[in-house]
Subunit: 461 residues, 2 copies
């Protein structure tokens, strides 16, 4: 008898959860402690001069408003553009509006390289400047590449480590999924969220650092440190699962299908100049009542980006957001109250979002009964029930100071009943994590909270 | 101690596979044998007079070509419409064309009621006429309802048994998923595919009959008998699974994400009159070279439909299709060679399709090296390797005589290598069945073949 190499393999990577748990338990990694990380990060912050200045639209270089549509576009036809969107929700429509929206049809790559050192999985994270970040430098995935990046339209340096995400079969994929981003600001944008484990050597670079999951969990406790792309990518790692839940998996998928059928969303891209209710000034496009967001422009000087200086538009929300999971243990199984959210820019009408996801200032003019459900519960939550409360910002390459307080709250029946209102559903932590391994189920805000929840679970363990 | 009712339940319905296997093994059901079925079906066929006649567009009632766009629409603004689509595939584009396309933004319900009789699951199937079916009457799901149907735009009779799919929680959902339909003919159409198990009484009606899975499997061996909607809905039932496969689940999802990123599809809806290469005559809209399909119109007289007579447009393909799975057992695990198919009307760029899905006549003018991959293998397959070969037609409410030979072929390395060409992948039967429980993974042609494959597996067992 000769040994035969099996052609088939297990469909599930059964060793991965234990390896992730080991990494989550590690507070010390191959590049030292969390304190060492902070020292390194402070050095990176001072190593390169960054400057971001607001400019008027007339000072944008390479960007211009099209004569025919008023859309804000780049002369290359690449990157992204700002056009208009007409939205009608409901059949017959119960709400309709116009708004500026970012168009970016290309699928970018958000990739994290993973590698074992001394038997512990580490993740290669990058200190990266984005102009919209409130503190400019944040901790990013190994790779953040638009298609323009890696096809050379930027005319900048090659994207470091990109080859691990494009060359195919030689590395080991831990997760890979096309995920939506902000459906209120992007039109059908999605990015490829990948984690790839590498067995060979990975050449070091001063802007990159290997961290364990336990270290990343610790860093998620700091305001505006771990960037949105990192939080999104890490959400697709498998989480500890339980075989029971309030609803079966089939019931959960059925509820989502029902929500998608019930929400009737009609969108039509329109010329930006036709977006009524919005006015364009010299340096910003604003809503007539000063709500929602503005479109502005910035000039950027940076040393460690592919291109050393550039100008670009950004969306700037009006006010700080509140994004919260209400959670409960049900018969020992951790559950989260999610909401079926219809965002105008979603490819697929509805995704699962947090219990609360809102910018309260947009509702300040309305009576309390018109506030988003559970916002008042979150606003009045006793400190003892707050499991997590940290400021996190959205993608700094497109959004300026888009900061929200992300919260995980330990709720009870009076705060969050087991029979929730229409449009809400209890899902187990394991169910939500498994859904996040598929695209268009879990929105980007809920993915951030899922990553935070995984980090909390790791700290308890 | 008092007994406490558990709030949580198992996430998976672990009893269901065995119950499905029992139903699949049953050749005799509560309404008799397959022979009894045929007698009943023949009676249904003669019970009502059906007549479908081609008419000129001018004789359409309620339908008209819009003055501004040339789109073919209904005066209610409902049902569906025929507009134009401009398609460019590739970046930069490698193929581009114009075509007519059906717009139907509403999500319909395709629902099958299931119920146990004497411990065996039965499925309530309907003898239903659709004007485009080659033999008019086919076996349909319990319910086929467009949103127009169930909101009363048809002004016809209420849809029988619809309440089992709309009232929510009281019945037991076995599967529920929004699935795409023909991406070459529909623009982002999807329907809700549901199977609901009912415990209470279901009032009988002469057009409906309870069948076991084993009986339906038998009926799938007849040409043009089990309609497309039935085949699609049944594909989302769980199939027997195996823990091993040629690729892990993560690898498979990663490959699909890569295919979706690699296929760059730009579509823009245009006025039908602007669709170049297509000309409108008195009774048809045709491609200038007589290829692909035509848009035609029919008048329908029927007795057992919600509305007794009507006129409507239909798409009529030019020629019979070939739709085939090449299959292999790999280390004892049944595998299928699927293709990542980009169809212009897909919501999400690429879905998994059959190994071969084509209308050969459209390629007759091209040299062999430009024929679709594996078409020549299928055309020359030895009879002993054909596991399934039956004519099936597509949705008769929209397509006239859209008939394809659906085939399942037992392939070997010379016909279908384990290392397939770019765009193809081996997936296990269990993997494909699990993907079909989510939307936008498995296209409608592959769902038909999956249902046939499940039926084949049942016959072997």
């Amino acid at each position: 008898m000769t040994a035969q190499i099996a052609l088939t393999r297990p469909r599930d990577d059964q060793g991965l959860p234990a390896r992730l748990a080991r990494s989550a338990a590690a507070r010390h990694g191959m590049s030292g402690s969390v304190e060492d990380f902070h020292a390194w990060f402070a050095r990176r912050r001072t190593a390169t001069r960054f400057a971001v200045d607001r400019i008027s639209f007339g000072d944008l270089d390479g960007w211009y408003f099209r004569d025919d549509t008023g859309d804000l576009v780049h002369r290359s036809g690449r990157f992204f553009s700002v056009g208009g969107l007409r939205v009608a929700m409901g059949d017959p429509p119960t709400a309709s509006w116009h708004q500026p929206i970012i168009g970016q049809p290309e699928i970018g790559i958000l990739g994290i390289v993973a590698k074992e050192f001394d038997g512990v999985l580490h993740f290669l994270m990058q200190a990266k400047m984005e102009p919209g970040n409130p503190n400019l430098l944040q901790l990013s995935p190994t790779v953040q590449a638009t298609r323009s990046n890696y096809t050379g339209v930027h005319q900048g340096a090659a994207v470091r480590y990109l080859e691990h995400f494009t060359r195919g079969e030689s590395d080991r994929v831990l997760s890979d999924v096309l995920q939506s981003e902000h459906g209120s600001w992007f039109y059908r944008k999605r990015n490829r969220n990948m984690i790839v484990e590498v067995s060979g050597d990975v050449p070091p670079h001063e802007d990159f650092r290997w961290l364990t999951l336990g270290q990343i969990a610790e860093l998620l406790r700091y305001d505006n440190l771990v960037n949105m792309d990192s939080r999104s990518v890490l959400a697709s790692l498998p989480a500890a699962s339980t075989p029971r839940a309030l609803h079966s998996d089939t019931e959960l998928l059925s509820w989502l299908a029902a929500m998608r059928s019930a929400h009737f969303v009609r969108t039509e891209r329109i010329p930006l100049r036709s977006a009524s209710g919005w006015t364009r000034g010299a340096a910003s496009i604003d809503h007539e009542r000063g709500r929602y967001f503005s479109v502005i422009a910035v000039a950027v000087q940076a040393g460690n980006r592919e291109v050393a200086q550039w100008t670009q538009p950004l969306f700037e929300p009006r006010g700080e957001g509140v994004v919260a999971f209400l959670t409960r243990e049900i018969e020992g199984v951790p559950h989260i109250l999610v909401r079926a959210r219809a965002e105008a820019g979603f490819l697929d009408t509805v995704e699962l979002g947090p219990t609360v996801q809102t910018i309260p200032a947009n509702y300040a003019h309305l009576p309390p009964e018109k506030h988003p459900p559970f916002l008042d519960v979150v606003s009045a939550v006793p400190a003892g029930r707050v499991r997590y409360s940290v400021l996190q910002s959205e993608e700094g390459g497109r959004f300026l100071n888009a900061v929200s307080r992300y919260m995980v709250i330990d709720a009870d029946e009076s705060m969050a009943p087991l029979a929730p209102p229409f449009g809400f559903r209890w899902v187990s932590h394991g169910q939500l994590a498994e859904m996040a391994r598929h695209g268009h189920y879990v929105n980007v805000h809920a993915r951030t909270l899922l990553t935070c929840l995984n980090a909390l679970a790791a700290r308890v363990g």
